[in-house]
C-alpha cells in the first residue's frame, strides 16, 4: 500500500514538473512544437515500457489484457506522431519536461520491478490510473494551449479521448482487482 502510494507520488511529481513549466512565473518557457512532440513521444514510450514490464511480470488476466492493449494503442499513437512529425517537418526535441518525465518514469519502473504478484498488479494499475490522469491534465493545460501548429494542436486534442478511455479502463481494472481482494 505504501509502495503504490509512493509510486503515485512519484508520478505526481513528474506531472507537476511538466505542468509547472507553464506557470505565469516562467511563462517565457512556453513549450515549442518540437518539445511538445518530444513529451508526447516520451509519455507514450513510458506507457509501452511499463506495459511490457507488466506482460513479463503479471499472471493476472485483466492486467495482461490491459497491458497488451496499452502496447497496441500507444504503438499506434507513436506511429501517427512520427507520421505527423515527418509531414510537418517537426523533429522531437528534449526539454526539461521530457527529461524530468523520463527520470521519474525510470524511478517508478525500478519500484515496480521490485514487486511481485498481487502487489505488482496493484502498483501497476494504480500507476496507470495516475499516469493517464497526469497525461490528460498535461495535454489540456499545457501541450494543447502551447501548440503552435494547428494540425499538431488538433492531433493533441484528438488524443484526449484515447487517454480518457484508457483512464476509465484502468479504473475498471483497479475496481475489479479491489473487488477480488475485498471478497476474500
Amino acid at each position: 500500500m505504501r509502495i503504490s502510494t509512493s509510486v503515485i507520488a512519484t508520478i505526481g511529481t513528474a506531472i507537476f514538473a511538466v505542468v509547472s513549466l507553464n506557470t505565469p512565473a516562467n511563462a517565457q518557457t512556453t513549450l515549442t512544437d518540437p518539445q511538445i512532440v518530444g513529451i508526447v513521444v516520451a509519455a507514450n514510450q513510458i506507457d509501452i515500457d511499463n506495459a511490457k514490464l507488466a506482460l513479463n511480470k503479471s499472471k493476472n488476466k485483466q492486467i495482461r489484457a490491459f497491458a497488451q492493449q496499452m502496447v497496441t494503442d500507444h504503438t499506434a499513437v507513436l506511429k501517427s506522431v512520427s507520421d505527423l512529425g515527418a509531414k510537418l517537418n517537426v523533429t522531437p526535441e528534449e526539454s526539461e519536461s521530457s527529461k524530468s518525465l523520463k527520470a521519474q518514469a525510470e524511478e517508478t519502473a525500478n519500484k515496480l520491478k521490485e514487486l511481485k504478484g498481487k502487489a505488482f498488479d496493484k502498483a501497476y494499475i494504480d500507476n496507470e490510473v495516475a499516469f493517464h490522469q497526469v497525461v490528460i491534465d498535461t495535454l489540456n493545460k499545457t501541450l494543447i494551449p502551447d501548440a503552435q501548429n494547428a494540425e499538431l494542436k488538433s492531433a493533441l486534442q484528438g488524443a484526449v479521448p484515447l487517454f480518457e478511455g484508457h483512464l476509465e479502463h484502468a479504473k475498471n481494472v483497479q475496481t475489479a482487482l479491489e473487488g477480488k481482494a475485498g471478497g476474500r
Binding site: 492493449q69 497496441t72 494503442d73 499506434a76 506511429k79 501517427s80 484528438g158 479521448p161 484515447l162 480518457e164 478511455g165 484508457h166 476509465e168 479502463h169 475498471n172
Partner: protein, 131 residues
C-alpha cells in the same frame, strides 16, 4: 403515375408487416422448429431487411443512436487507428476486438434497446434500438 407502382401502398405495407411478424414468430419460437427454419433465414426472407452502417472514428460511434427493424443487419466499421469493440452492456452481443480498418456485423434478432460500449475504451458509448 408510373405503371409499375403497386396498386395499393397500404396493401404492400400490410404484406411486409405480415412477413415481419412471421419472422418474429419464427425467431421467438427458438429457430429450430418443425420447418428447421433458422432465424438467420427468417431474417433473410424478410423483404423489409436493410443494412445499416455505424462508423467508429475518433473514439465515437456514428451515429451513436441507431434504430433498426428486426431482421436488419448492422455493420460497424472501424475507421480508427486503434482496435475497438462493440459490446452490449447486457452482454447480448460482443464483437470482440475489431482491428483498425476492420468491421463486424450482426443480424438484429431481438427487439429492445441495447446500450453498448468499447471494452478497451469504456468512454465510447452507443445505443442500438431494435423494433
Amino acid at each position: 403515375m408510373p405503371w409499375y407502382r403497386p396498386c395499393n401502398p397500404s396493401f404492400g405495407s400490410a404484406l411486409l408487416l405480415a412477413v415481419a411478424l412471421f419472422a418474429v414468430q419464427t425467431a421467438s419460437a427458438g429457430g429450430k422448429n418443425a420447418f428447421s427454419y433458422p432465424p438467420e433465414e427468417a431474417a433473410a426472407h424478410n423483404p423489409d431487411q436493410a443494412t445499416h452502417t455505424v462508423e467508429i472514428k475518433d473514439f465515437k460511434y456514428r451515429p451513436a443512436l441507431l434504430t433498426v427493424k428486426i431482421g436488419d443487419t448492422v455493420e460497424w466499421k472501424n475507421e480508427d487507428i486503434f482496435p475497438h469493440t462493440v459490446t452490449a452492456v447486457n452482454k447480448s452481443f460482443d464483437s470482440g476486438s475489431i482491428s483498425p480498418g476492420g468491421s463486424w456485423k450482426f443480424v438484429a434478432r431481438k427487439t429492445g434497446s441495447f446500450d453498448y460500449f468499447c471494452t478497451f475504451h469504456p468512454n465510447m458509448k452507443g445505443k442500438l434500438v431494435v423494433q
